[in-house]
C-alpha cells in the first residue's frame, strides 16, 4: 500500500520555471509539458536536436556473482548477449503474459548491470525485482533518488554530445559508457524515446543542472530547444514506442503489443516464458494496431474505433502528428488480420470520422 504524497520535483525544476516551462503533474512529478510550442519542439528533435528532463525515470543497479542469472530471469530479452558497454531494450513479463514494465538494461561489467525503469512503476518494479532476487547471490539498489537524467535527441545530437563529453559520440547505438561528468561518476547510453539518434545522460542529482545548463549553453549552435513531455509523447508515438500504463500493462503481452522481438524463447527459463510460449503457439486474439486519420480532427486515447459499424477497440495512445500533419494513434483491436489501408471510423466528439489502419511505426529514421 502506498500513500499519496506531494508532487515531486526533479533537480531541474527551478531551471524549467526560469525557462518558461509550462509545468504539469505527470504521475506525481512536476514536469514541463512544453516550453515554447509542442510542434516547434517536436520539429527541433526531427531536424536538429532537443533536450528532455527525464529525471523522473528510475534506476536500479544489480551486482554480484549471480547478477546475470537475475537479469536473465526477470527480462524476456537475452542479456547473455550483452558485453560490458552494451545496452538493450526489454520487457519484464509477469507470470501470466502481462508486462511488469518495459526497461533499458545496460551491462557495465560481467557482474554489474544498470536498469532504467519507468517513473510510475518504480516502486512496483523494485518490489518485484526484490522478490525475484530471493535465493540469488545478487545485490539490488533502487538508485532513483540519486540520479537525474537528461535525454539529448535529434540528428545533431551526436555533435553536441561530443562537445559535452569529448569522445562520447563514438558510442554505438545501444552502447553504454561510464565516465566522469563534472567530476561525478556518470553514465551515457546511446538510447532514447524519440525515433532519432541521441543519448541519455544519467548523472548524480547534484550535477544534473550543470549538464542541462552546459547543453543549453552549447546547444544553440546545433539548433537545440528544450523540450517538454508534450513533444516527448508525439515523438515516441510517431516512432511506435510504447507508453507503459497506456499501451502496455500487467494485462497485455509483448506479442499483443507487436514487440515479439524482445521475447527470446530460445534462452533458458525466465519469468513468464511458459505463458509466452503457449501464446506464441495458440496465436494472439488482439493486437496493438496503428491508425491514421483520413480527415481533420485529433484522435485521443480512449476513443472507440469501428469497422463497418462494429467496434474494434479503443485507442491506447493518439495525438496529432507534427511530422505528418494528421492525427495518428494506436490501440488494441480484437481483429489481428487487418491490413494497412483498411478503412475504419472513429467516434470523435459525436462525429464519425474516417481513418485507416496504418503500419507501425509511423516514423522510421531515414537511412
Amino acid at each position: 500500500m502506498t500513500t499519496a504524497s506531494a508532487a515531486r520535483r526533479t533537480p531541474l525544476y527551478e531551471l524549467h520555471k526560469e525557462a518558461g516551462g509550462k509545468i504539469v503533474d505527470f504521475h506525481g512529478w512536476e514536469l514541463p509539458v512544453q516550453y515554447s510550442s509542442i510542434v516547434k519542439e517536436h520539429q527541433a528533435v526531427r531536424t536538429a536536436c532537443g533536450i528532455f528532463d527525464v529525471s523522473h525515470m528510475g534506476q536500479v543497479t544489480v551486482s554480484g556473482p549471480q547478477a546475470l542469472e537475475f537479469v536473465q530471469k526477470i527480462n524476456s530479452n537475452d542479456a547473455e548477449r550483452l558485453k560490458p558497454g552494451d545496452a538493450m531494450y526489454s520487457h519484464m513479463p509477469n507470470e501470466r503474459g502481462g508486462i511488469v514494465d518495459d526497461i533499458i538494461v545496460s551491462r557495465l561489467a560481467a557482474d554489474r548491470f544498470f536498469i532504467v525503469v519507468n517513473a510510475a512503476t518504480r516502486e512496483k518494479d523494485f518490489a518485484w525485482m526484490t522478490l525475484q532476487a530471493k535465493g540469488l547471490d545478487v545485490r539490488l539498489a533502487d538508485r532513483g533518488d540519486d540520479y537525474g537524467m537528461v535525454a539529448l535527441q535529434g540528428p545533431r545530437a551526436a555533435e553536441l554530445m561530443d562537445v559535452i563529453a569529448p569522445g562520447s559520440a563514438k558510442l554505438k547505438r545501444f552502447g553504454a559508457l561510464e565516465l566522469e561528468l563534472f567530476g561525478e561518476p556518470s553514465l551515457i547510453t546511446r538510447t532514447g524515446y524519440t525515433g532519432e539518434d541521441g543519448c541519455e545522460f544519467i548523472v548524480p542529482t547534484a550535477v544534473t543542472p550543470l549538464v542541462w545548463q552546459a547543453l543549453m549553453a552549447k546547444g544553440s549552435a546545433f539548433g537545440l530547444l528544450p523540450c517538454g513531455l508534450g513533444a516527448r509523447d508525439t515523438l515516441r508515438l510517431e516512432a511506435g514506442y510504447l507508453l507503459y500504463g497506456s499501451d502496455i500493462d500487467d494485462e497485455h503481452s509483448p506479442f499483443e503489443a507487436g514487440y515479439g522481438w524482445v521475447v527470446k524463447l530460445t534462452k533458458k527459463d525466465f519469468i513468464g516464458k511458459k505463458w509466452l510460449e503457449a501464446q506464441k503457439d495458440s496465436g494472439i486474439r488482439r493486437r496493438l494496431t496503428g491508425i491514421r486519420m483520413l480527415e481533420g480532427g485529433v484522435p485521443r486515447a480512449g476513443m472507440a474505433v469501428t469497422l463497418d459499424g462494429r467496434r474494434l477497440g479503443t485507442l491506447s495512445s493518439a495525438s496529432f502528428s507534427p511530422t505528418f500533419r494528421i492525427g495518428i494513434g494506436m490501440g488494441y483491436f480484437d481483429r489481428t488480420d487487418l491490413a494497412a489501408g483498411t478503412r475504419v471510423a472513429l467516434d470523435m466528439h459525436g462525429r464519425t470520422v474516417a481513418a485507416e489502419v496504418a503500419a507501425l511505426p509511423f516514423y522510421r529514421l531515414p537511412k
Partner: protein
C-alpha cells in the same frame, strides 16, 4: 481587420466584433496562448441557429480539445474556411485572420452585455480563466 479594443469579450475568451448587421467571432489572444498550437478547428454549418452560450465549434491543440461558445444568439452566416488549411492562423492572428464564424444576431442588445476590452483586461488580471 478587427480592432481588439473595439471587440466585446466573453468569460470563456471568445471575442465578438460587430460590422454592419453581422458579428464576427473568434478567440482572444489570451485564449490562443492558453490553447497553444492549434492543429484543427471544427466549425459549425452555415445556417445553423445558435443560442448564446451554446458550444458551436471545437478547437484542438496537440494536447487537448476546447469548446468554443456562441457569444450571442443568432444564425451562423459564414465560417472561416481558411482554418481548414491553416489552423495555425488562430495562433498567428487570433483577432483578425484567425476568426471562426459570423453570426446574424437574433437580439440587438446581446452584444452590449459582453465585456468591453477594458473590462476583459481587468477580468484577465483578476485571474479569470
Amino acid at each position: 481587420m478587427t480592432n481588439a479594443d473595439a471587440c466585446r469579450y466573453t468569460k470563456s475568451h471568445e471575442w465578438a466584433a460587430s460590422a454592419g448587421d453581422v458579428v464576427t467571432v473568434g478567440v482572444s489572444d489570451h485564449a490562443q496562448k492558453e490553447i497553444t498550437d492549434v492543429v484543427f478547428v471544427d466549425l459549425p454549418k452555415v445556417g445553423r441557429k445558435v443560442s448564446k452560450g451554446e458550444a458551436v465549434a471545437v478547437v484542438e491543440s496537440v494536447k487537448a480539445a476546447f469548446d468554443i461558445y456562441a457569444p450571442i444568439s443568432g444564425e451562423i452566416v459564414a465560417v472561416n474556411g481558411e482554418l481548414a488549411k491553416a489552423p495555425g492562423l488562430v495562433n498567428e492572428s487570433p483577432q483578425d485572420k484567425g476568426w471562426f464564424f459570423r453570426v446574424k444576431p437574433a437580439n440587438a442588445g446581446e452584444l452590449g452585455e459582453l465585456m468591453d476590452a477594458a473590462a476583459y483586461d481587468k477580468f484577465l488580471k483578476a485571474g479569470g480563466h
